[in-house]
């Protein structure tokens, strides 16, 4: 595993306000990492420091072996950055703009046409080549911003809220693009929207009040916060009948049945021991008692719940 980005003890203070408080993490080559946090948590500040746009008050950032402060040019040549506002020049045509970006990123003239047309195709802006950027819609501008970050084939692509302001269809398209990017590049993206991060990221870092409060894969984050596996089943039959039927299955550690969303059925929440799949046991048990299962789903915590639990918890600690 090659570490591409190494962030050590990063702090940033704006006057009295501490925007980042001693953040450390590293990102390996090929990872898709999501920064998740409420507004003002320090996501943008972290990204601006990693890309060398602003300086940290303390700490260091090393990108592919080059320190962002000591060797800015070498470090920056490894990064493509899409800030929260796409950095586009309204009075340039799309092709002119991408050519300019290729120019400042030292892309050889001979490689340009092929690279630019490939990028335009992958973010689906080929049809806009001759349009002035100021006449493009928000969604297209966002894609132009992403195209700009991809120019020069940087090892790392950093995106700050890439789907903000897009319509649902565009959001899904953007996610596909990000997933595709993840195959060739290391990607860091930030968001305050849970579904987005859970849809594309290998690893999630939850930032709150300038600190990393959790950093792990989604499954592990979820597992660490729940004890045992829980699932919900909708079963047709009487409540007493269902409860007594489950008494035959010792694998079920607890059950509650107090919701009825469909007439004649009960929604039962079941849980078993950690790392034991209880679904089959539930099926057999119900089949034996002739109680049809209409619906069965796992109740692993959603990222949303994890997020609230973690950020809420740390807020209480501070009080």
């Amino acid at each position: 595993m090659v570490v591409l980005i190494e962030v050590r003890n990063l702090s940033k203070t704006y006057g009295q306000h501490k925007a980042l408080d001693c953040i450390s993490f590293s990102v390996a080559a090929g990872e898709i990492v999501g920064f998740l946090g409420p507004n003002g948590a320090g996501k943008t500040t972290t990204m601006n420091i990693i890309t060398g746009y602003i300086a940290a008050t303390e700490g260091e950032v090393v990108i592919n072996g080059a320190d962002i402060v000591a060797e800015p040019e070498a470090a920056k040549s490894n990064i493509g950055y899409l800030p929260d506002t796409p950095p586009v020049y309204g009075d340039m045509r799309l092709d002119e703009y991408l050519d300019f970006v290729a120019d400042i990123k030292n892309v050889k003239k001979s490689e340009r046409p092929e690279m630019l047309s490939r990028i335009k195709e992958s973010v689906r802006i080929e049809d806009m080549s001759k349009r002035l950027i100021k006449n493009l819609s928000r969604g297209y501008r966002q894609r132009v911003g992403l195209a700009q970050a991809m120019v020069g084939n940087p090892k790392v692509i950093i995106m700050d809220e890439p789907t903000i302001g897009l319509d649902p269809k565009q959001i899904i398209e953007m996610r596909d693009v990000v997933k595709k990017l993840g195959k060739k590049h290391t990607v860091i993206l930030s968001s305050h929207i849970m579904q987005e991060v859970s849809a594309v990221c290998d690893r999630v870092m939850i930032i709150n009040k300038g600190k990393i409060v959790a950093s792990d894969t989604l499954e592990k984050l979820s597992a660490g916060l729940t004890s045992g596996r829980r699932m919900q089943a909708r079963i047709k039959g009487g409540k007493e009948q269902i409860i007594s039927a489950f008494k035959d299955a010792p694998i079920i550690k607890s059950l509650t049945a107090d919701v009825s969303r469909e007439p004649g059925t009960w929604d039962v929440v079941l849980s078993g021991d950690e790392n034991i799949d209880i679904r089959e046991a539930v099926f057999k048990c119900m089949a034996k008692n002739n109680l049809p299962i209409l619906l069965m789903k796992s109740l692993d915590m959603t990222l949303e719940e994890i997020f609230l639990q973690i950020t809420g918890g740390s807020a209480e600690e501070e009080k």
Partner: protein, 287 residues
């Protein structure tokens, strides 16, 4: 650097600024030319250029106000500062673009003396000198405008502030002669300069001792010079301000005198402001 230069030149001509600047420059020079040369039936074209320098502080801000202010406003500075380009190259590219546009306008106005030369003999040396001095003066002012543009994200503020600063430069000679010439006033003035340098020192290094040391050395040197020969301090303020006057040096060029010291002065002046611009940008990367 070349990429930034090309981008800025293109921006001048896709937005109206480039055309407006050229139009005003040629129009104003044309008016002065008509009045000073054609109606007055005079071959002294350098007088036209001297006249045009007075409207410099209106023309230069239109050229420089957008250079950095616009980038910050549209957040495109994030693209430039996170690209592998060094800040120095970005700043110099922008400076050269503005200067090139100015030079282009100046070359077009070169048609006026050419026109004139068909009808008589011209003081060629003086006119060449005036052109050269005019260019240096313009480039110096562009550097000032560039520096002010990086301090704000608002083009209007940038333009007005540049206008104000250039106006002060224009008035420098008048301001200078109205200053007190007594030794005491000179010493107070010098003390303020030393304190100012110490403050800048502290602001960029955050080191109290270094700043205090600079101030101490400055005061000791000033005191030493005062004890050794206090005549130096007679009219010190006036001498200093006059030395800073960009317009009075321009007068030598118009008279056909090309001093190396004056050329060096203008070039240094521009370089200092370019350096300051780079530093203001780099400062965001400092701790």
């Amino acid at each position: 650097m070349v990429s930034i230069f090309k981008k800025e030149i293109r921006a001048y001509f896709t937005q109206m600024t480039g055309y407006l600047f050229l139009m005003f420059m040629i129009l104003l020079t044309g008016i002065y030319f008509a009045l000073y040369c054609v109606y007055a039936q005079s071959p002294q074209y350098q007088a036209v250029l001297s006249g045009v320098t007075i409207v410099f502080f209106i023309m230069i801000p239109t050229l420089t106000m957008r250079l950095f202010a616009e980038e910050v406003r549209h957040k495109t500075d994030q693209l430039l500062y996170t690209s592998p380009l060094s800040v120095g190259k970005i700043v110099i590219g922008k400076f050269l673009a503005a200067t090139a546009l100015f030079l282009f306008g100046l070359l077009i106005t070169g048609l006026f003396p050419l026109l004139l030369s068909r009808y008589g003999s011209l003081p060629t040396g003086q006119i060449m000198g005036a052109f050269f001095g005019f260019f240096l003066l313009g480039a110096s002012f562009i550097a000032v405008g560039l520096f002010i543009s990086v301090l704000t994200d608002n083009q209007i503020i940038s333009a007005v502030a540049t206008f104000a600063v250039l106006f002060v430069f224009f008035m420098m000679d008048f301001i200078a002669i109205s200053m007190p010439a007594t030794t005491l006033a000179s010493l107070v003035f010098l003390a303020l300069i030393i304190l100012g340098v110490a403050f800048v020192m502290y602001n960029s290094t955050k080191n109290v001792f270094a700043a205090a040391a600079v101030a101490l050395v400055g005061f000791l040197a000033a005191g030493g010079i005062y004890l050794y020969n206090n005549l130096i301090f007679d009219g010190f303020i006036i001498k200093t301000l006059q030395w800073f006057s960009l317009y009075s040096r321009y007068g030598y060029f118009v008279n056909g005198i090309m001093n190396t010291s004056d050329v060096v002065y203008y070039v240094t002046f521009a370089l200092v402001f370019i350096y300051l611009t780079v530093n203001v940008i780099e400062k965001r990367r400092w701790r």
